[in-house]
Amino acid sequence: MELPEPRGALSSDLIRALRDEDVVLTPPEPDDAEDLHLSLWTLYELHYRGFDEVDDAREWDPELLAIRARLEAQFEADLRAACSEIVELAAEQESVPDQLMAITAYDSGVSLPRFLQREANADQYLEFLMQRSLYHLKESDPQSWAIPRLDGPAKVALVELLYDEFGAGRPERLHSRLFAEALEASGLDPSYGAYIDRVPGYTLAVNNAMSLFGLHRRLTGASMGHLAAFEMTSSLPSRRLLQGAERLELADPVGRYFDEHVEADAVHEHIAARSICGSLVKAAPHLRPDVLLGAAACVHLDAVAAEQMVDAWTHGRSALLPERGREVA
């Protein structure tokens, strides 16, 4: 993957420093949320697949890690503040699955799956796929960081869930591969990270939250809570997305991807809520607030992304960033 186009003072300096190790980095504050989330996304990507132009050893460059830590502190503080109201929804429930259910019942008033099911045109649906490609092409990778940090029933349950996500022994069933096939059949670029320059900060934030929770052992509870909320809000919406793809007569692999998730996530939501999060909190009761925070973060960031996308489309705008010519390095 190529390095992305910068979106502000910080990402501009950062990307220059990633290209050329001799650049001395005195990173400014991020200009805005776009600059922050692109910078954070770029730094996180060093831990996944990296960039063609960047030495793989930079994954552990102390200067880069220091910038990452600063951005993460800001992102985490903002996220905790934004999620406190949603976490409160769990206050009246006792069991972890019931608490997660209360959180995932949060309704922002805007439903992206319903819009795509009934109203979106084909271009808008493809914009949705392009935005989602950042995550779905590495589907479940961020959650797999939790495996060595768990033990006992929670570990067994996480691996059981991930085994299904990762194709259950069949490469052709890898969820990330099913999504790549959906992109390709739709005339889109199925290569990893292809649409990074078109994807707004609110969707980068969705991805960054998973990496934040995944890469920090202290946030393992949040990572698993996020996973549970993601799975619990997937089966019914996937059916809407399938119906939208059928209504718009999109290529078959698009429907096939969401069709797979109707049944898969009707299973996964119970594994995640009960066997992963329930077992985790039973073994380590102090992790309960983290689990709820992670679930609330999933719900909150998805709601923000849904509002932004549906708002753009209902006002006749694209939900993507404008295409720009790549700068000459």
Binding site: A105, E160, A168, S235, E263, D265, A266, H270, I271
Partner: protein, 60 residues
């Protein structure tokens, strides 16, 4: 004979582990093609015998 594990989720489906086929009330066998399957218990699913989370719409 395989051993199957069945876990009934309160107000939800039955999670079945270890089965190769699930036979429904009409005697039709359905191939199991994932490690764990959720079998509908509420009768509302649109893709029997598998749960499709419709029970959540019914109860909310």
């Amino acid at each position: 004979m395989n051993e199957c594990q069945v876990t009934v989720i309160p107000d939800g489906p039955a999670l079945v582990r270890g089965a190769d086929r699930i036979r429904d009330d009409d005697g039709v066998a359905h191939e199991v093609d994932r490690p764990v399957v959720a079998v509908c218990l509420c009768g509302l699913t649109q893709r029997p015998p598998w749960c499709d989370a419709t029970h959540k719409v019914a109860t909310t």
